[in-house]
Amino acid sequence: MARMKFFCDAERCIECNACVTACKNEHEVPWGVNRRRVVTIKDGEQGERSLSVACMHCSDAPCATVCPVDCFYTTGDGIVLHDKDICIGCGYCFYACPFGAPQFPEDAAFASRGKMDKCTFCAGGPEDDHTSDEYKKYGRNRLSEGKLPLCAEMCSTKALLAGDADVVADIYRKRIINRGASAFNWGVNDLNLGG
């Protein structure tokens, strides 16, 4: 079995937000919910970098540890999914997650939290594959069709990679070799010369 991972190459991401838009459109996620977002560090300064971030499908997921109703599970592909029929919308996964992946649609009453929504690695949920129930709750199930997550598939600079961790790591390793791994060759503008 593969071990599915996302990887975002900070040297390639151009903050076009196409991954965010593609995800929202593909899964028709509710208003106010963003399964993926692009964060820019040092915006407009020397050394500006952007990273696209969503659920990182942790091996030892903190969300699963703190969930009071134990609604998380890890698939054979190493994808962390959750059961919306079990989820009570308490928000503990949101506190525990380092990446801010869990999202909550606002429920009607007093703007309290609805059931949690997060990136599924385009792998749907516990419902049967390609049912309308699954689509409504979790969005498209691309993985069962043999396709990878749409955000990575359509990334114009191939900054965002998704797939088997070994393959992703291999691609990135080759890039590093081409760039030259030395800090002296890696983004000369970043170097703070002088003392």
Binding site: V39, I41, C90, Y95, A96
Partner: protein, 346 residues
């Protein structure tokens, strides 16, 4: 001998420190930061400065990695729920053990039948409203804190999810009512709970556990006053942190909510633990205590035994009513009898 060793260690500690301070001069040549390392230091928020920006609008959306979340998760899972569970189980064990050893404390000289008014109807409504809301919130809160290790294996995920969902919604809905009844409690009982002369003696006597006979007490004894101020102060802390948690759309960040959750839970666990003792002493632990909150009247012998300074005032001001008068009041006045059934039907 020990002192000499300590001295040597201290001298040793000074040596490298001095060496460092000499080497601290700026080195000649080129100083280069590794751009990769710098980037990831910012991503990990190592120095907790300068978050990024994101086109996705939202609180904390510019934070790539929130390291506090893991600390919160570990604290909740290993300390908060474990020790919290032991505290709740422990206080029940202590109370049961105390009951077995000490039994029900009887009124000296038995019940006289002559009664004295202790609480008005309004005061009893305030007390029981707060008590019922508190018990409901305690139960639903405990289901959320300890349900996964305790209840989930018993009921299975589907059934427990329903219980937890109902607990969460109920907890959120009735939580604000706790603050309202707490403020009512503050207004109607604060004056009589101000500490006064003689309270220290009560404390030194351990509330009557140390030495012979009852410890002297006023209308409320020192233990009751301390419980009262605990309820008010910790209750306010719980209410404020609860309001922060219940409304996630106010714009507060994750770190604020993580801290609020910890404060909320620790405060609630303290109140829950002590409340078990309060409920024990107010019911099966001590004869005649429950009458005061049930009917508003207590036996004069009970007042003399537990609150002798207040009992003395009752004698002096001739506030005692006869058994016949009490029976007439209980039969005629619609308040006392109906109040009970109204509380029960809640």
């Amino acid at each position: 001998m020990k002192f000499r060793t300590l001295l040597i260690v201290m001298c040793l500690a000074l040596v490298p420190f001095q060496a460092f301070s000499q080497d601290d001069k700026p080195e000649p040549g080129v100083f280069m930061k590794d751009p990769g390392a710098e980037l990831w230091r910012q991503v990990r928020q190592r120095d907790m400065e300068g978050v990024g920006i994101s086109q996705v609008r939202g609180v904390d959306s510019g934070v790539l990695i929130n390291a506090r979340g893991d600390q919160w998760a570990r604290f909740r899972m290993t300390q908060l729920s474990t020790y919290g569970g032991f505290a709740i189980a422990g206080i029940f064990a202590i109370v049961i053990l105390f009951y077995v050893v000490r039994g029900r404390v009887p009124i000296e000289g038995g019940l006289s039948g002559r009664m004295v008014k202790r609480f008005t109807d309004y005061e009893r409504v305030v007390h029981w409203t707060l008590a019922i809301v508190f018990l409901f919130l305690a139960l639903t809160g405990l289901i959320l804190l300890l349900g996964r290790p305790v209840l989930l294996p018993l009921f299975g995920k589907e059934v427990f999810s329903l219980m937890a969902s109902a607990s969460k919604e109920g907890h959120n809905l009735f939580g604000p009512l706790f603050l309202v009844s707490l403020i009512m409690m503050l207004i109607s009982f604060a004056r009589r709970n101000i500490y006064e002369k003689g309270d220290l003696t009560w404390l030194l006597r351990g509330g009557g556990l140390i030495g012979e006979g009852h410890a002297s007490g006023g209308f409320f004894n020192m233990g009751e006053k301390t419980w009262y101020w605990m309820v008010i102060l910790i209750g306010l802390v719980i209410s404020v942190s609860g309001l922060i948690l219940v409304s996630p759309s106010l714009g507060q960040g994750r770190v604020i909510m993580e801290l609020s959750h910890i404060v909320h839970t620790i405060g609630a666990l303290i109140l829950m633990t002590v409340s078990v003792g309060h409920m024990y002493l107010g019911s099966i632990g001590s004869e005649g205590s429950l009458e005061g909150m049930k009917t508003g009247y207590v036996d004069i012998n009970w007042a003399d035994a537990h609150h002798d300074r207040w009992g003395k005032v009752c004698h002096e001001q001739d506030l005692i009513i006869s058994a016949e008068e009490y029976a007439r009041l209980q039969g005629q006045k619609p308040g006392a009898g109906e109040m009970e059934t109204a509380e029960q039907s809640k």
